[in-house]
């Protein structure tokens, strides 16, 4: 995913002289091609995220679209007030890029587990979250962000994520990306970020095959809450999926969006349990410990169907 990001950013930077990349002394072997090709639009800011974000705001105020790149919680929590005040309040085109969203740095421990980032970033109006599900969505997110420069948060996985989409896709604010769906289906998994793979795996299992679909929502944020309602209303039942804690996450966001509307869509949410905090291990292991894997998704889908068979099963 990080390779897809940097390759697309380089492609965009060739055509767009406003793109500037700051890195927080991280990105070994990843950011080098950008630094070599655009030395005048690249700075390694050292291990200093607050200054990095303030400098990004200053550069953005002079017309640059600044990408600030670091890993896990460093470019978000460490400099949250700079993102809130310097970037979001002034509506500067700064894209905070975090590599290792979720539990991608699983065995590096709690400091590197980015499982609370949606909660804090999504309340920072007018920030838009871009959380791609695979390398194809990553490239599409970068394209969209460059075409729509604004305060934004690009949450990436790390490396080796499976390619889900077989063709290039383009994104539109407030619209989901279809992976597999159909009018006669019981419902869909609605994913954001790299949890997409688990939903795709789940619908290939015999229990759900042909009955549950998958759509992905890489672009979202507080200001898109109303815009996504139309998408939500198209489905009879939705199970949201995210590699983030329940508190304040994507599922919470969808619940808030649906609350006080007349939309009949039923919603269940799958997110990570706080029980995994403090554990280390491979990403798959930790996600599974937190309640996120294909079997768990099957279980939730079946329990969902059992609740109201007449309504959900054709």
């Amino acid at each position: 995913m990080r390779t897809a990001f940097i390759n697309e950013l380089i492609a965009q930077a060739r055509a767009n002289p406003r793109i500037f990349l700051l890195v927080g002394d991280l990105g070994y072997s990843v950011v080098d091609p950008f630094a070599k090709e655009f030395p005048e639009r690249f700075i390694n800011m050292g291990v200093a995220e607050q200054n990095m974000t303030g400098v990004a705001a200053g550069l953005a105020s002079e017309g640059f679209h600044v990408f600030i790149y670091s890993i896990a919680n460093f470019p978000t929590f460490r400099c949250l007030e700079q993102i809130r005040n310097d970037v979001c309040y002034h509506r500067y085109p700064v894209t905070v890029v975090s590599v290792g969203g979720g539990l991608a740095y699983g065995n590096l421990g709690y400091s590197h587990h980015a499982v609370q980032d949606y909660a804090v970033m999504r309340c920072l109006n007018p920030l838009t979250i871009a959380s791609p599900g695979d390398p194809v969505e990553t490239a599409a997110c970068v394209k969209w962000l460059v075409s729509n420069p604004q305060p934004s948060y690009l949450r990436l996985g790390k490396a080796g994520e499976p390619i889900i989409h077989q063709h290039e896709i383009s994104l539109e604010l407030g619209k989901t990306v279809e992976v597999k769906s159909g009018a006669l289906m019981s419902g869909v998994f609605l994913t954001t970020g790299t949890s997409l793979r688990y939903a795709v795996e789940a619908i290939q299992l015999p229990e759900l095959q042909g009955r549950w679909g998958v759509v992905s929502l890489p672009l979202w944020g507080e200001e898109q809450k109303t815009a996504i309602l139309n998408e939500l209303s198209r489905h009879k039942a939705i199970i949201s999926v995210e590699d983030h804690l329940a508190a304040g996450g994507f599922g919470s966001y969808l619940r808030e969006a649906l609350a006080d509307t007349a939309i009949q869509t039923r919603l269940k949410t799958v997110s990570l349990s706080a029980n995994l905090l403090g554990l280390i291990g491979k990403q798959e292991y930790l996600n599974s410990e937190g309640g996120l894997d294909a079997l768990r998704l099957v279980e939730v889908a079946l329990s969902f169907s059992a609740c109201s068979p007449s309504r959900l099963l054709n």
Partner: protein
């Protein structure tokens, strides 16, 4: 006859006092300590156009000690960026003159209020000018208490690394921070040596002496390739004897009688 900048400083003090009194606002002490610096900057140093606040070649000015916005708004009004009448709306419902620096006000580059944000932002501006080959400069005024913030020291490391000699940091060193004296809370001394050790070029002046301020700021950059730090030794509450060096005036707003005494005293000294 006082110099123009001295007259302006006196007017800034008068307008700032009236603003905080009318709004029952805080922070007059720091506005009075920075008034002379603001006056010299806007009268003699900064290349700005009041009728064209977004003029592309303007010098960029950032007041990082955002709580002292009454001095900035007064300066901008006196220089024609907004009307003097508008100053009466300071801190009122829906006013754009919020009680910490707001970028909704013409001539203001950047909203501040939380400390430790102005210098990193000014560094970003200075980098932008360098990368674009532009000749304008970035100025920022910091408070002394603000230098407790780690973000400033990140920026103080950064600026010399990138040879930002188009960056000027002015410290309004009035020696009093929010709950007491700087010496008793988080002593900054030796401040000049600290900046020098971080590879800045540094000068120290009496921050109320207009000739000294002008002499220092007229010859920027002092060392090519280095950012400049002007440590301006000031007095909190300067110009109003009963407010000078009194922590109380970080918080309190003058009552009618106190305002009259303060304004009366300023009339005598400025004419």
């Amino acid at each position: 006859m006082a110099e123009k900048s001295e007259q302006l400083a006196s007017q800034i003090r008068r307008e700032a006092l009236k603003m905080v009194a009318l709004a029952s606002a805080s922070h007059i002490g720091g506005s009075l300590s920075v008034a002379d610096i603001m006056a010299v900057l806007y009268q003699d140093i900064l290349k700005v156009r009041s009728k064209e606040p977004q003029w592309v070649n303007r010098d960029r000015f950032i007041l990082s000690k955002g709580h002292c916005c009454s001095a900035l708004y007064a300066t901008l009004a006196l220089q024609g960026f907004l009307s003097l009448k508008e100053l009466e709306t300071y801190g009122k419902d829906r006013s754009r003159l919020m009680a910490h620096v707001s970028h909704a006000v013409p001539g203001v580059e950047f909203s501040t209020g939380s400390l430790g944000h102005g210098l990193p932002y000014a560094c970003g501006k200075a980098v932008a000018a360098k990368r674009k080959g532009a000749s304008w400069r970035a100025f920022t005024i910091l408070s002394d208490g603000e230098l407790d913030e780690g973000s400033n020291w990140e920026a103080i490391l950064f600026a010399p690394q990138h040879k930002l000699d188009n960056l000027v940091a002015i410290v309004d060193y009035n020696k009093i921070q929010s709950l007491g004296s700087v010496v008793s809370i988080m002593d900054l001394d030796p401040l000049a040596e600290k900046f020098r050790a971080f590879r800045w070029s540094v000068k120290e002046v009496d921050g109320h002496n207009h000739s000294s301020l002008k002499d220092a700021l007229a010859t920027l950059p002092w060392v090519p390739g280095k950012p400049s730090c002007l440590i301006a030794h000031t007095v909190k509450g300067k110009g109003v004897p009963f407010m000078e060096n009194e922590l109380l005036w970080h918080y309190k707003s003058p009552e009618k009688q106190q305002l009259d005494i303060a304004l009366g005293g300023l009339n005598e000294t400025s004419l």
